[in-house]
Amino acid sequence: MSYDLDFEKPLAEIDRRIGGLRKRGDKARPEEVAALERELAGATADVYGRLTPWQRVQVARHKDRPYTSDYIRFLFPDFFEMRGDRRFGDDRAIIGGMATFAGRTVMVIGHQKGRDTKERMECNFGMAHPEGYRKALRLMQHAERFGFPVLTFIDTPGAFLNLAAEERGIAEAIAENLQVMAVLGVPIISTIIGEGGSGGALGIGVGDRILMLENSVYTVASPEAAASILWKSNDYAPQAAEAMKITAADLLELRLIDRIIREPLGGAHRDHRATAEALGAALSEELAQLVALPSGVLLDHRYSRLRAIGAPASVAV
């Protein structure tokens, strides 16, 4: 796997040197390779240890980052995909279905960006139409009917913005999900695995627990969009990313999320399996806590949590 992000240039350089040594085959001195590999690991830890928010946006959007389908492959081997909203279509930007996880049946729902060009087109780069949110709604209501916990995986630049989406009520579709998820009678755990883009993310993101992968981001508007409005130019996206507090660490500190899942050295895209295992372990722990709660308590907690978000200050008037 190459190092192709801007801030990875020093890593790419070391990697190139390792590659050069390896090409020499038997003539390469193993100590030399090992030393360079240690250097690369150290440099990677260093670079990734102090990523700026804008750099994390690049990692969160990395073309090799694990997607929902990758987590399904590693964590839900008996996944049974359920398709369609029973109304209009089957949106490939949101996939979902039943699977066994930690000894019980769960409902898995997540955005899917698509890996190669063909899949990206099919999935519309993870930007869902109304029918995607309505499929998710159907699956969540199905899960409620059968008592299956819901695990959602969020990875979208946002809901799709085109005429067709407006015509079929993208706003209504997201709104209805927010309302239904607020009182859905089964545990819901939402994990931001890459980009948590605005209403399109929230549309499957109301949960009893909100987890974030270490290098994922969660935004009310993309840094580029925020920059163009508040800084009057896209060029200020790094500043916007900084000011908006979009990283997992910031959001945990602000108590808007519950837990951060550490990624392998150099980011989730360097080791899908290890990332999935870490995520799986976290989900398993959180799920065990939630299924132990009586349904009434679960829903009271969920409501209180939503109710308490962003309590304003009171002034004398």
């Binding site: 809901a159 913005l161 709104a175 309302q179 605005s198 908006m244 978000i309 962003g310 309590a311 002034v315």
Partner: protein
């Protein structure tokens, strides 16, 4: 008391109490739609509707409340003490968000993008909340979200209908994810209203877009819009930029929303109170 920032010297529709921001009576304004020049005194008589073409100028939140309630003086303002805690200590281009809030308060005379309270419409007691687009684009941050949520809760607890007039560009970026999550919070609050058989009447006015449409505003038991209002998730300009697609001229208007099944009715502002009264009577009917 409500609205300490209000300068109190405006007039609206002949009422004595005031907080409105109309230009003096002899000043002229150009109609956004038919481009005719109109006198403020004429607009006052028509609730800011162009007498030539029916274009609905935007109302301030207080004008809106005044146009609806039976007794504006008796309207009980609520939650006016709430202020953004500015949880991110946000600033952009060396301007602190806190300063922007001060500016908006000074400009509009109201304390946030939503004002709310309890009053009577056609003798029916209602919990009413109204957005004001002048206040940072009617954006929904923590204060707007909290005031809307409390307005909904007052309906649930007091067993009365909830009416919200929206006018918003969406979530307030300066409060980032706190703003986004107000969508979930307001939508969740509506589930409480459902359990007491009280309606939520959502009225969409120009413009209602972004996070507001993708949350409580589209969850009305009945959804009404003023004519010609911009209504949509993204809005036509964003869509055109995003997908380089030229859109039909009526995209994301009230009429578009009606044609696509998203709203129940388009109501001329001059009939708004009578329409709401009609609805309130039906919801108050014997079960």
């Amino acid at each position: 008391m409500h609205q300490p920032e209000t300068n109190g010297n405006g007039t609206f529709n002949g009422a004595a109490s005031g907080a409105t921001k109309l230009a003096p009576a002899n000043v002229a304004t150009r109609c956004e739609k038919c481009r005719k020049m109109l006198f403020t005194r004429d607009l006052e008589k028509t609730q800011k509707i162009c007498p030539e073409c029916g274009y609905h100028f935007r109302l301030t939140a207080e004008e809106r409340v005044e146009s609806l309630v039976d007794d504006y003086g008796a309207f009980q303002w609520m939650d006016d003490d709430l202020r953004s805690a500015d949880p991110l200590h946000f600033s952009s281009r060396n301007v602190a968000y806190a300063e922007k809030l001060d500016e908006a308060r000074a400009k509009t005379g109201i304390s946030e993008s939503v004002i709310a309270g309890m009053g009577a419409i056609g003798t029916h007691r209602v919990s009413l909340a109204v957005m004001d687009f002048r206040f940072i684009g009617g954006s929904m941050g923590t204060v707007a979200g909290e005031r809307l949520t409390r307005a909904i809760e007052r309906g649930a607890e007091g067993r009365c209908p909830v009416i919200i007039f929206s006018a918003s560009g969406g979530a307030r970026m300066q409060e980032s994810l706190f703003s986004l999550f107000q969508m979930a919070k307001t939508s969740a609050a509506l589930t409480r209203l459902r359990t007491v058989q009280q309606p939520f009447i959502s009225v969409l006015t120009d413009p209602t877009t972004g996070g507001v449409t993708a949350s409580y505003a589209m969850l009305g038991d009945v959804i009404i819009a003023e004519p010609g209002a911009l209504i949509g998730f993204a809005g036509p300009i964003v869509i055109e930029q995003s997908i380089h697609q030229k859109l039909p001229p009526d995209t994301d208007t009230s009429e578009f929303a009606l044609a696509h099944g998203m709203i129940d009715m388009i109501v001329d502002r001059r009939s708004m109170k009578v329409t709401l009264t009609h609805l309130l009577k039906l919801y108050a009917g014997k079960r």
